[in-house]
Amino acid sequence: MNLGSLLSGTLTDTLDVSLPLFRVELALAATVVLLLLCRMLPVLRRFDSALVALGGVGFALWYAWCDLRGLPGSPWALAADAVATVPGRRELFGGLVVFDSLTAYIRLLLAGFLALYILFTKVSGIPDREDGADFYALVLGAALGMCLMASANHLLMVFMAVEMASVPSYALAGLLKGRKASSEAALKYAVYGAGAAGIMLYGISLLAGLLGTCHLPGMAVELARMVGEGGSGQVMVLTLGGLMVAVGLAFKLSAVPFHFWCPDVFEGAAAEVGAFLSVASKAAAVALLLRLAFGLGDPAAATAPGAGAAALVGSADTRHFMVAVIALMAAVTCTLGNLAAYGQTNMKRLLAYSTIAHAGYLMMGAAAAVAMMGVSPEGARKAVTALAFYLGTYLFMNLAAFAIVALLRNRLRSEEIASYAGLVRTSPGIVVVTAAVLVSLIGLPPLAGFISKFLVFASLAEAIQAGAEKPLMLVLLVAGGINTVISLFYYLRVLKVMTFDPPPESRVGESFPLVSLPGAIVTALAVPVVVLGIFWSGLYAAAQLAGRFAS
């Protein structure tokens, strides 16, 4: 093959195959550039950067929706293009990135989140007009990295995407420039992130060195063969490498014991930044976890040509190891997050621990999915569906929760739970909305949070039924149930303070009517929490599309 044909081959691959399925990322990247130009060129400075960002995100959202709608098996396919316009699965850019239903779903989720998020930050007043361009450029840049996390198919891409999502986040954490707490949060986050990234990179190099490739499907074949053959210390090095990669993932997921940054960063940074980190970052991290686990543990790899006789055992062993690690981390993360949330007096810190706990529930679903991968593909698909659904509802719940914190901060000049005392007397509307959101986070019907939790628990029960890692799944199911009860305390405490306690005499600021722009935003974010608890067929159908990636 000469250079000419290689070049033309690459060119067709890039232009004809890859770029059309990469429109979402391209739209985001173009918007980032536009935002930076807005900052530099005096002519463009007059434009409101939030509107520019919103316009760009609108394109991304549309493309993301088109991609999801066009997937094979989608119930929303247009009659005109009844033949699926989008492939079910295709590797882009020579295998660095993969486009499949999970990519499409997570991108749609992220784009939808960004649109709501920009609207919300526009109302909440952080960033101010001066910082706007910087802020939205960073947010969109990080979101671009998150889209890549959801579609990474190559360890190099995994690392690049994680860093691309993390580095702008460090800067975002330090957004409140004059504030000591904010700078401290940014520094802590950056140092912690750098450490985690270093460990992850080391793990990647160990894996790549031993397996001879960074391409996930290729790695799966090698891994199955090597683990199946066993012995000679190789497996130990592989284990070490895998655990090191898991450290990087755990950092992004804020899983125990790599969660220490989370409360500090959330408390120090603005609530708006917390919303971004807790929703978007979490969704991308869960997608990446699924990518890696499903990529490396693919049962099909065991029967690939050249895999060797022992590959079946090796593949099963790999999955067992991954399930054990994820499950253990899930149980500990969930329990610790819920217990630590107990003593918090700052609302943002409480939500940080709530985020950690929810990472635990999400990882329980991931554990069930990986456990059923080799035993019951249908069950694995359902578990991924449950996770996708969870992320969809989690978007609204947590964004609404942080929006309430931010907008109350604007009124009360405080984010302490105690400052919310007796809010029901002056602003009953906002208290009702808060109650809906927090109760949904506990997971009580008829709210969306219950359905998500129900689906995750159902996946665990199905794994038990299918006999996939039965003892571990049982432990997870019981741990999930107990944690639901524990979490009741601290969410309810906030509601208790808002309703039962008398208002402080020194209350600054007036009432918070729901019939106002901030009130409308909060209500708009909370309405899906109620509606998705009763009419959840639509979101579930979309999540089912995402679940198809596991087949």
Partner: protein, 599 residues
């Protein structure tokens, strides 16, 4: 099923209206249409809503009263499920909007709507945040009614949990001095129980497989709609039978059919040495007995009942406790009969322990309301004993008519206790509104100050005591008699508990109503009963007497369904436990007739 077909179901509107009308009015009330300050209007709207719901439920339950028997109305004396509404909700999980009533749930629905109406009337003294109170109150009513009419386990669970939050706030905001503690305790206990229930639901769901059921069973369980013509039914059955993957279900009727199969799928699976059936039974039982409540998980009850405002105490004692008993009767036994058979000793034992413990605790109370609360623990013990008496395992005698007697007695006891305990709490509330204390030692001479009130109160307390001729007697006697066949020791203990009950109630009457004059503060505030209070107390007393004199009014509804369920389960026992003695007396003795004859 197409939507037009759903709309044509005769029971759709009446049943849905009974359940959702309160929630709808609550939603309207919470909008700023009616200003907060118009408290009187809000109270009247709520009372009117509960009254409409009551009339609707009465229209369903008592068709002859309204002169017509429509297809949506209840046919008294029929055992099966009636007025079924079926509409798919979430197809991916086979979750349905499946409602229906039978002889077990219909009386409880009417009890709920009736007590809600009285409680709404009893809410006039509430002056704090009137609007919020009534919104939450109406939401609570929707939750309670939804539980009684749901035939889909998922829907049941949703309604079960919907009750929690309104109740938490109703106790926590409008309650007494220790309201916050009581509210969170109530919430925690119930949530713990319901999480266990959720685990059981998931286990049962994933083990169930509709393909195991025959065509007749599928139609009987409403999995295949009986409204379809023969061809449509055959098609639907064939679609289920030929499915490649197992078809899981949340349908309670189908789960019961599966649980009663000779090779129950729930008994086949084992977990840590116990069958899934046993696990599910235990998890569900814990969830339900927390609500009943039985010793040792009863400790939320005295706190919640004492701290809650009077109308909420009436609802708590009158309806919420019945949800536990209803759940055991509707879900535990039909779905897990094998475990029910093996664990009958546990259910009966819990019942007797609560009975005795509750009575002794009531005897020791100084607080009037706390005494009434413990009397509920004691009285609900009879319900547990009646439900648990599975004479088939007695070994010496296999008398399933005795079991039917026990379950009928338990159902009667639930309804009677709904009347008497709500009445007792209301009577305590009337006094508390006047003198603002509940110390049993600081009353006295109320008969002189409030003669009409005292007469009604004593009647209600006697009903609680179980005086023959009043409603409390029938249930207790039937349960005690039936338990004789199961265990003589338990029967003797439960009979002797009546003496303890008499002791604490008579002692309380003596200290509060008799004597020369009130010993406590605010004695001069003891004004005669008002018209509103009279309007609440009189129907309760009337019903307490009516059910005591003419128990058939209840048994006509309850007995056919209960007897059929017992008959089915006894039949199941004979098939699955062939070693049990075969001699079966026919079920000729009508429990109701027996009760009247006995008196």
């Amino acid at each position: 099923m197409p939507f037009a077909e759903t709309l044509s179901q005769p029971a759709l509107w009446p049943l849905s209206a009974i359940v959702f009308l309160p929630a709808l009015v609550a939603a309207v009330l919470s909008l700023p249409i009616i200003p907060k300050a118009r408290e009187e209007a809000i109270r009247w709207i709520t009372l009117l809503t509960t009254a409409v719901v009551f009339v609707l439920s009465l229209w369903m339950a008592w068709p002859t009263l309204f002169g017509a028997v429509g297809p949506a109305q209840f046919t008294v004396g029929e055992a099966g499920m009636q007025a079924v509404v079926k509409q798919p909700w979430i197809k991916a999980f086979n979750i349905e909007y499946l409602l229906g009533v039978d002889g077990i749930s219909m009386p409880l629905v009417v009890l709920t709507t009736f007590l809600s109406m009285l409680a709404a009337a009893a809410s006039w003294p509430i002056t704090k945040h009137v609007k919020a109170y009534h919104v939450l109150f109406l939401l609570l009513e929707t939750g309670m009614l939804g539980v009684f009419v749901s035939l889909d386990f998922f829907l049941f669970y949703v309604f079960w949990e919907v009750m929690l939050l309104p109740m938490y706030f109703l106790i926590g905001i409008w309650g007494g001095p220790r309201r916050e503690y009581a509210a969170i305790k109530f919430f925690l206990y119930t949530l713990f129980g319901s999480v266990l229930m959720l685990l059981a639901i998931l286990m049962l769901y994933f083990t169930s497989d509709l393909r195991d059921l025959s065509a007749e069973q599928l139609v009987a369980a409403r999995v295949v709609s009986p409204a379809l013509d023969a061809i449509g039914q055959a098609d639907a059955v064939a679609a289920i039978k030929t499915a490649k993957e197992p078809i899981h279900t949340f349908n309670l009727l189908a789960l019961a059919q599966l649980g009663q199969l000779p090779q129950s799928p729930f008994a086949a699976v084992t977990l840590w040495g116990m069958s899934l059936e046993t696990w599910a039974f235990l998890l569900l039982l814990i969830g339900f007995v927390i609500k009943v409540p039985v010793v040792p998980v009863h400790t939320w009850l005295p706190d919640a009942h004492v701290e809650a405002p009077t109308p909420i105490s009436m609802i708590l004692a009158g309806v919420l406790l019945k949800l536990g008993g209803y759940g055991i009767l509707r879900i535990c036994y039909p779905i897990c009969p094998g475990a029910g058979l093996t664990l009958a000793w546990l259910v009966c034992g819990l019942g007797v322990v609560s009975m005795v413990y509750g009575a002794f605790a009531a005897l020791a109370q100084k607080d009037f309301k706390r005494m009434v609360a413990y009397s509920s623990v004691s009285h609900m013990g009879y319900v547990m004993l009646g439900l648990g008496v599975w004479s088939a395992v007695a070994g010496n005698e296999f008398r399933w008519d005795a079991w039917a007697q026990g379950v009928n007695g338990a159902m009667f006891q639930m309804l009677a206790h709904g009347i008497s305990s709500a009445g007792m709490f209301f009577m305590v509330g009337v006094l508390y509104d006047r003198v603002h204390h509940r110390n049993l030692e600081e009353f006295g001479g109320i008969f002189n100050r409030m003669p009409v009130y005292s007469g009604l109160a004593v009647a209600i307390f006697f009903a609680g005591l179980g005086l023959p001729g009043l409603c409390g007697f029938i249930g207790e006697v039937l349960v005690t008699l039936s338990s004789w066949n199961y265990s003589r020791v338990l029967a003797v203990i439960s009979a002797f508990t009546v003496i303890l009950t008499a002791a604490y109630i008579l002692w309380a009457i003596q200290r509060v109503y008799l004597g020369a004059e009130s010993k406590g503060p605010h004695g001069d505030h003891l004004t005669p009963i008002t018209g509103r209070e009279l309007a609440i107390a009189t129907p309760l007393v009337f019903l307490a007497i009516l059910f005591g004199v003419a128990p058939q009014t209840i048994f006509n509804y309850v007995t056919p369904t209960v007897n059929r369920q017992v008959e089915t389960l006894a039949d199941w026992t004979r098939r699955v436990r062939p070693d049990a003695p075969a001699a079966q007396p026919a079920l000729t003795v009508d429990a109701a007739a027996k009760a009247t004859a006995m008196r």
